[in-house]
Structure formats: structure tokens, C-alpha cells
């Protein structure tokens, strides 16, 4: 535990140094920040946008905007959190744009078709116990994607940031430009909607115990 705290501290200090050097005109110092934080920003962007193409665009745009606004960051300590926030804001814009695009399109989106072809879930794993089980897990996966897609941008953002990325409520409120209590409510609404959409497809521990299938 202490080791990970020390490591996080060391990264924050190293980030702060890289920011200082970038601001002093050493453009290559920004490269350190980009290479260090790209994966985590990609993860956030992918979970928010739901597709790789948009996620990659969000990552690039977040680091470009971060560079352009770096002067405003100088006083703060955590570059990772800061660029995260920029990425989340841009991802919200991208999701809104996608919604408009989808409303205009009548044919299925390209990534939907590609997603089905390249989807890791669709590649039958060797350890798949039975075809029924596989069908169930594919169906569940589709339902989960649909349920996430049905959330509003704010709900999806709040859920991704809180549940998957462990961001603080203040941070989420900052991205949503809302109060802390409104951000909490948004997290609640998101989980509630997901729950109601997915409950019929999910086996609870109690059901598993009753059926003797709990691992």
C-alpha cells in the first residue's frame, strides 16, 4: 500500500517536472506526459464513447488541448487528473455528435458491424462450457452495451468516472458542470437505469446458490 502511494507521489512529482520543462520550451518533455497517460485516458474515452475510433480521437484531442492550456495548469499538481477531465469533456461532445449522426443515419453504423466481427466476445473461447452458456453471455453483452448506450451523456459520464475510474464526486461534478449533489444523483440514476435494464439477464448469487451453480 505504502509502495503504491510512494509510486503515485513519484509520478505526480515527475509529471510536475515534465510540465515545468514543457512550459519552459522543452516540447519533448510533453512527450513523457503523453506516453505515460495515454493508456488510462484511452480507457476512460473508450468506456465513455463505446468505440475505439472515437476513443482514439478523444485521446489525441485531450493531449492537444492539454498542451494548449498548459499555462492554466501550472499551479496544480496532478496532470493525470487534469488531462482526464479534458478528455471527459471532449468525450461528452463526441457522444453528442455521435447521437446526432446516428439519428441522421438509417443504416447501421460501421463500427457496429465491425464490432460484431472483431468483437472478442464473438470469438468462441476454448473454455466455453456450452453453446447455451455462450449464447447467454453474448446476449448479456449486447444487453449491457444497449443499456449503456441508452444512458444520457451525463449519466454515462458519471457512471464511467465513478464506477470504473474511481473519480471523486467533486471531479465528476466539475466535468458535468453541476453541483456535487446533482452529480451523486446522476450516478444513482445511471446505476438504477442499468439495473432495471439488466436485472432480468443477470444471475444473482442467491439464484446461483439456489441452482447450485455458484463457483
Amino acid at each position: 500500500m505504502q509502495q503504491s502511494v510512494d509510486s503515485a507521489q513519484a509520478i505526480a512529482e515527475s509529471d510536475a517536472l515534465a510540465v515545468e520543462r514543457t512550459l519552459a520550451g522543452d516540447r519533448d518533455a510533453y512527450r513523457v506526459l503523453v506516453e505515460r497517460h495515454s493508456h488510462s485516458v484511452f480507457r476512460l474515452a473508450y468506456r465513455m464513447t463505446g468505440n475505439r475510433h472515437d476513443a482514439e480521437e478523444v485521446v489525441q484531442e485531450a493531449f492537444l488541448r492539454g498542451y494548449q492550456k498548459l499555462g492554466q495548469f501550472a499551479a496544480r499538481a496532478n496532470f493525470g487528473t487534469w488531462v482526464y477531465r479534458i478528455a471527459a469533456n471532449y468525450a461528452i461532445d463526441r457522444m453528442r455528435q455521435r447521437q446526432k449522426e446516428n439519428a441522421l443515419r438509417e443504416t447501421p453504423r460501421v463500427e457496429d458491424r465491425e464490432g460484431t466481427e472483431n468483437d472478442p466476445v464473438n470469438r468462441v473461447p476454448d473454455e466455453a462450457p456450452t453453446p447455451e452458456r455462450l449464447t447467454q453471455s453474448l446476449e448479456l453483452r449486447k444487453q449491457m452495451e444497449r443499456a449503456l448506450a441508452a444512458l444520457s451523456e451525463a449519466e454515462r459520464t458519471a457512471f464511467v468516472m465513478r464506477h470504473w475510474e474511481g473519480c471523486g464526486i467533486e471531479e465528476i461534478a466539475g466535468v458535468l458542470k453541476s453541483s456535487s449533489s446533482a452529480a451523486k444523483n446522476t450516478v444513482f440514476r445511471a446505476v438504477q437505469k442499468l439495473r432495471h435494464a439488466l436485472q432480468p439477464f443477470v444471475e444473482t448469487k442467491a439464484q446461483a446458490r439456489a441452482m447450485g451453480t455458484e463457483s
Partner: protein, 262 residues
């Protein structure tokens, strides 16, 4: 005993509950609320199985490679970004479009108010059609060249595609602009093809400048599999037809004289 509300249980599970100790005590004593909590947890646990693709170990380097040419020399001064060559080119393109639309609008301004609105719409459409047509032509040429790239001899270990890669980077910027414009104009078909083209351009722009023959073949197969060259040609042809159709019909002299009286 008052049972916990769904809101309280979700807040507790997500670590944002204010009365954590109270809820924890209640859960340890109440079977009904524990079962309810299990149902919430089962849904969240299922959601946790949704995978995030691994962008690859060198993803950070790829991102840097993509954005480095677009960074200004000094950070923090927003206006500097607008003076980068690429942005200047893009901004120049937009200015040219606006000027062309304005000039064309002035030229066709002589009709009545109704005519003027229609003309402006037509001009805007024509300007977009011409610009996108040109962009698709450039993209098509780049993709054809890339599709025809091959090692000079069987022993050659790497093929230089850096020229195509740089062109793809430039085209990518333009493509985003036109895709967004097409969407704003409500042209879903054009936006869809531009979206597909963008993916191909992104792939090429992200490729290394020098690739092995196997990598080159994989890129070429990808281009072929998507059928993007065919789609680009079809859309370009359609745009040319639209361009022809939107050209104003020649007016006879008497009609012109009548208009000039107004």
C-alpha cells in the same frame, strides 16, 4: 424497521453514501436489504466484465507521433496553435469556402428575395460539393498509390510509405472538417462514407513510415476489404452529378434585361 431505499444502497455500493455506518449496520441485520444489495452488485459485476481493448504497448508513442506535428512551439498560448501550417491550411480552406460562397452569393443576388435565398443555398451546396469532391479525389489518389506500393525486389525488408502516411495525416484533418460539415448539412450518406474514409486514413496515418512487405500487404488488404476506393469513387461521381445539376440554367438576354430592371 425501515428498509434502505434503492438510492441509499446504490450510493453505498458506489462509495458516495453519507451515512455509511448506518447502512452497513442495517445490511448486516436485514436479509431483505442484503438480497437487494446482491441484485445491484450482480448487475455491476456483470458490467465489470465488459472488456476495454488494449491499444498496444506502444500506444503512447503512437499518440505522440500523431499529435507532435500539431503542437505549437510553445504551449499555453492558444492563439499560436492557429498559426501552425496545417491549421493555417485548414483555416485557409474554410476562408476560401466562405469567400467563394460570399462572392457567388453577390453575383447571384440580382433576383427577388425568394430567388436569393434559393441561390445562396445552391451556392453553399455547390461550394461544399466542389471542395469535398477535390478532397475525395486526393484521397483516392493516395489510396491507389498505397495499394500499388510493392517492394522493389523480393529481398527488400522494408517499404517506404512515409509520403502516403504524411498525406493521410493531412487528409485526415480535412476529412474531419468535411464530415462534420456534411452532418450539419444533413447529408447522412456523404457523412457515412467520409466516416469510413476517416478510419482508413487513420490506419494509414498511424502506420510506421517504413513497413515490412507483410505489413504493407495487411494495409492493402484492409483497404480492399473495406471497399473504400469503390465507395469514394461512387460518392465522387454522385457529387459531380450534383455539381452539374446545381449549375444555373443559361438565361436568355430578355430575361437578364428584365432582372436588371428590378
Amino acid at each position: 424497521m425501515r428498509h434502505m431505499r434503492e438510492e441509499e444502497l446504490i450510493a453505498y455500493r458506489e462509495g458516495v453514501a453519507e451515512r455509511r455506518a448506518v447502512i452497513a449496520d442495517h445490511l448486516s441485520a436485514c436479509e431483505k436489504c442484503r438480497a437487494e444489495m446482491e441484485r445491484i452488485e450482480a448487475v455491476l459485476a456483470a458490467l465489470d466484465t465488459l472488456p476495454v481493448p488494449d491499444p498496444g504497448a506502444d500506444y503512447g508513442r503512437q499518440v505522440w507521433k500523431e499529435i507532435a506535428p500539431r503542437l505549437a512551439e510553445q504551449p499555453g498560448r492558444w492563439w499560436q496553435a492557429w498559426f501552425e501550417p496545417r491549421r493555417l491550411a485548414a483555416a485557409g480552406g474554410i476562408v476560401a469556402l466562405i469567400v467563394a460562397a460570399f462572392v457567388a452569393g453577390r453575383i447571384t443576388k440580382h433576383g427577388g428575395i425568394g430567388d436569393n435565398v434559393v441561390n445562396k443555398e445552391q451556392v453553399r451546396e455547390r461550394v461544399l460539393v466542389v471542395a469535398v469532391g477535390e478532397h475525395l479525389g486526393h484521397s483516392e489518389r493516395m489510396l491507389i498509390e498505397l495499394s500499388n506500393e510493392a517492394p522493389d525486389n523480393p529481398k527488400q525488408k522494408e517499404v517506404d510509405i512515409s509520403a502516403e502516411q504524411r498525406r493521410a495525416e493531412d487528409l485526415l484533418q480535412e476529412n474531419r472538417l468535411y464530415r462534420q460539415t456534411a452532418l450539419r448539412e444533413g447529408d447522412a450518406g456523404l457523412a457515412s462514407v467520409l466516416d469510413e474514409l476517416e478510419r482508413v486514413l487513420l490506419d494509414v496515418a498511424h502506420s510506421p513510415g517504413e513497413v515490412t512487405p507483410a505489413q504493407l500487404e495487411a494495409i492493402q488488404k484492409k483497404i480492399e476489404a473495406r471497399g473504400i476506393l469503390f465507395k469514394v469513387r461512387v460518392v465522387n461521381k454522385e457529387l459531380q452529378q450534383r455539381q452539374e445539376a446545381s449549375k444555373p440554367a443559361p438565361q436568355n438576354d430578355s430575361a437578364k434585361r428584365e432582372r436588371n430592371k428590378v
